[in-house]
């Protein structure tokens, strides 16, 4: 189980302070992050695998500092972006999944087997030779997830994974996420997605205003938003 420690993190972009002194220890298996637009939740998510480095404070993933051991942290923590179109970097489905393994000293056959395994697992096997831009929104999101999971991270951070999807695809992606064995941290506006989670953290104006089990945390959030 991955433990992420966030110690007195401040994040500033020019004159705007996106995060103001966040102190959290994340070790639950299912963690939801909610908050209004501009509340700092996406910035917080990007801190967790070192995509954004804190202006002040520290983020430690199993003891590894994101500022000093970025690569090591990214091996443990995968990241799935909101828009899969921006995450898929190769033109063909199977080539894109293989991208995460580039650089590893893996025999060709084993690399192909890993790619095949993850494509089959998410029902993308028959699209393996297809151009990625011809997939549906849900399939693209699954492809983005497959591209992350092929590197076998211990934890996956999702930044609003269902926001751009229709109801059917959103449900499909939600079910896939629910079945993951990895630790999952999701930034989302879809509160239903978090019903069975272990913990929900509510952000507002760069601060944590609630941190609890889904029931009380979401009730607090809904009350705050109304």
């Amino acid at each position: 189980m991955t433990t992420i420690e966030v110690r007195d993190v401040h994040q500033r972009f020019d004159d705007f302070e996106a995060l103001k002194g966040i102190d959290l220890t994340l070790r639950e298996k299912r963690i939801g992050i909610v908050g209004s637009n501009g509340s700092g939740k996406s910035t917080f998510a990007r801190l967790l695998n070192g995509l954004v480095l804190p202006t002040r404070g520290q983020v430690l993933v199993d003891g590894a500092d994101t500022a000093k051991n970025g690569k090591a942290v990214r091996r443990k923590v995968g990241f799935v972006f909101q828009n899969p179109d921006n995450q898929i970097v190769f033109p063909i489905v199977e080539e894109d999944v293989a991208f995460g393994l580039k650089g590893l000293k893996l025999p060709k056959a084993q690399r192909a087997a890993l790619v095949e395994e993850v494509l089959d697992r998410y029902g993308l096997g028959r699209f393996r030779s297809h151009p990625s831009h011809t997939l549906s929104g849900g399939q693209k999101q699954l492809l983005a997830l497959a591209g992350v999971l092929v590197t076998r991270p211990d934890c996956v951070v999702f930044d609003e994974p269902t926001t751009l999807l229709d109801l059917r695809n959103a449900r499909m992606v939600a079910r896939v996420i629910a079945e993951l064995e990895q630790t999952v941290i999701i930034v989302t506006h879809d509160l239903k997605l978090l019903e069975n989670f272990d913990r929900v953290i509510v952000f507002d104006q760069g601060r944590v205003i609630a941190d609890d089990t889904p029931g009380p945390a979401l009730a607090h959030y809904v009350e705050r938003m109304s």
Binding site: N83, F90, K102, G103, Q110, E117, G138, Q139, R152, V176
Partner: protein, 237 residues
């Protein structure tokens, strides 16, 4: 990039590096020739290669179709201002070059193409060239041509819906801004998705054989859901 490399013609089976080399030699040769009859013969040979690759003539025409008006304009301008012989030389040369280049991309997997480019660039390492980065740049170019095309169409549709007819500047500005914003996200994604450096040792999590690796999830319903996806039914393959 339509996935047609799945076919198995002689051209499909040729090594990607060899195809790129032949393309480079043919390109140089076409630039050196100034006789329209020889260039017309080269164009016929290029079309013959499409047949050999299992493509119809219509498919070959589709490769030059997007630039047909530019070719017509070139022919008329060159013919009127220079000579009709030269006009034929220019148009035949460009057409043959484009057809050959497109034949290479149609019949070669993009990962094989990129691997070949990376291999060819190895000698330039000593001058500071990073072959992997150049290969990735080629891959991104291939990947994002349809994405940027779709965005341009989206912007055109939105402008038409608001009563603005075809205006290249009105399309270009938002398209450039969108593309720049997307470039930032793509850079982040590449960073997030490439946790391994060249020559990294195999981590323990990959030590066991892939085939015998138990799945970390058991998403039994996904295949059925994908089959009922309305969008997946419209896949053009």
């Amino acid at each position: 990039m339509s996935g047609e490399y799945q076919r198995t013609s002689v051209i499909h089976r040729l090594d990607a590096g060899f195809k790129l080399l032949v393309l480079a030699i043919a390109g140089t040769g076409l630039m050196a020739v100034n006789d329209w009859r020889v260039l017309a013969f080269a164009l016929i040979c290029a079309l013959g290669l499409y047949r050999l690759g299992g493509f119809t003539m219509r498919r070959a025409y589709e490769q030059v179709r997007p630039m047909r008006w530019i070719l017509v304009l070139l022919f008329v301008v060159q013919g009127a201002w220079q000579s009709w012989d030269l006009a034929a030389v220019v148009v035949l040369r460009i057409s043959a070059l484009v057809l050959l280049a497109m034949l290479v991309t149609l019949t070669t997997r993009s990962d094989a193409l990129i691997a070949a480019i990376e291999k060819m660039l190895q000698p330039f390492r000593r001058f500071g060239v990073n072959p992997a980065k150049v290969g990735l740049a080629f891959s991104l170019a291939l990947r994002f041509i349809p994405v940027i095309g779709a965005q341009a169409q989206e912007i055109r549709d939105a402008q038409r819906a608001r009563g603005l007819e075809a205006n290249p500047i009105a399309v270009a500005l938002p398209l450039v801004l969108r593309t720049l914003r997307m470039a930032g996200d793509v850079a982040d994604a590449i960073e997030a998705r490439s946790p391994y450096d060249d020559d990294d040792e195999l981590p323990p999590r990959f030590a066991e054989k892939a085939a015998s690796t138990p799945a970390r999830t058991s998403c039994t319903q996904t295949e059925r859901q994908l089959e009922t996806s309305s969008i997946s039914r419209s896949l053009p393959l």
